[in-house]
Symmetry: C2
Subunit: 241 residues, 2 copies
């Protein structure tokens, strides 16, 4: 019987091929199969586009569909199917990589697959390789240090009720807010109440050449900008800025 | 007059050369000068050891001393000297890199240099490149996902009064605790009070080959371990583990 293959969960960073680590590139060029996630069967995989310039090997690329749904039953069924597909490849003795934007253990689809594999195929050999998170890439792009000394950092997906973010803004030196989207207006209202609207920097589409946009201070945004710039944005609020 | 050079602040990750990004390696092999920090004139630069295997270029390496002191005056004077040295190189039209462990904007010496340059040499052209933080590398090494969905993350250097960490442990799904050191016993006391001692994973010397150590659950440590394992350790506490 062939020995089992190994799965590498690989964080490929926020969007620039050059932000892959040496280790990730080495593994991507050594495995037999690369799994890339996409959100619908007809949509291109963003992750695939990011890694392609770094590929020299001849790994087979298999796209796995992870729908953008909140229906738990539908998601569970998709993860089970994906986990079975991955486990099947490993059982053939092949090594595989699953690529995911940012860091694999940080708000990533990979975590669902990983948990499913642990649960249903506990014998699977899995190694996870860290990647540059968009939160960190955004700070570097904006030229705003995240934290130093005894400063405290909170990283929080913006709650639906934006006011719920208030205690975190009060308690922490730095708050990085993810999943801003269309709730940007609500976030600015809370920041304004706390006098922090100009202690914020918004980074949109970080590391995406030609599309990256950095806005320091959120009090001067036009109505059109308020509608648009929340998409794929991270907001970093820093008291001592 | 020669045009000014550019400074790249480069995060080189937690300890493994293979965790450098492609971009960082490219820049390190293109600049004229690489500044590496060390904590005393006679101590080796850890950062230098990490980057050396990736260097093909012939950059001059200059070690800058940043003493491990809390004396503000002494630190200020060291940063001023370092900033002047860096600014002098840029003024000669040379490009330079300053390398730093982990991510450059995350609890790093680079931030002091960066702030000093911004203050005293505002004309300096500085680009910061993100790196893999030890917090993220620790999670990958331990196989413990950091956060997903609407989970919230706090990253906090352990306060001298360890009990002060209690509200953060209560409010957050995941807390990553840095700078544990000799306060590990105090931290375990707080975790035990909250019933979280087995929801913690300690990662020591992450990414350092042969030295990395992962301890899941903190209730079974021996007295000898309690004295030792806090050093260069990150503790990740996860309610839903």
């Amino acid at each position: 019987m062939a020995s089992q293959g190994r799965l590498y969960g690989i964080g490929i960073g926020p969007g620039d091929t050059q932000l892959l680590t040496l280790k990730s590139v080495e593994v991507l060029n050594s495995v037999d199969v690369i799994f890339t996630p996409r959100s619908a069967p007809k949509r291109n995989s963003i992750a695939r586009k990011i890694i392609e310039p770094a590929l020299k090997g001849k790994a087979q690329i298999i796209e796995l569909t992870f729908p953008m749904t909140k229906d738990k039953g539908e998601l569970e069924s998709h993860w089970s199917t994906a986990a079975a597909e991955v486990a099947g490849i490993l059982r053939e003795g092949k090594n595989a990589a699953f690529v995911t934007l940012g860091d694999p253990f940080f708000y990533s689809t990979y975590i669902y697959l990983y948990n499913k594999l642990k649960e249903e195929y506990p014998e699977a050999d899995i190694i996870t390789l860290p990647g540059i998170s968009s939160a960190f890439a955004s700070a570097s792009a904006a030229g705003v240090p995240i934290a130093i000394g005894d400063e405290k950092l909170a990283i929080i997906p913006l709650p639906r009720d934006t006011a719920a973010i208030r205690p975190y803004l009060e308690m922490f030196d730095t708050v990085i807010i993810l999943k801003v989207g269309e709730k940007l207006r609500g976030l600015i209202d809370v920041l304004t109440e706390l006098g922090l609207q100009d202690n914020a920097v918004l980074v949109q589409k970080v590391s995406q050449k030609g599309s990256e946009r950095i806005i320091t201070g959120l009090s001067g945004l036009s109505e059109a900008e308020l509608d648009e710039v929340g998409y794929l944005s991270t907001v970093m609020v820093k008291k001592n800025m």
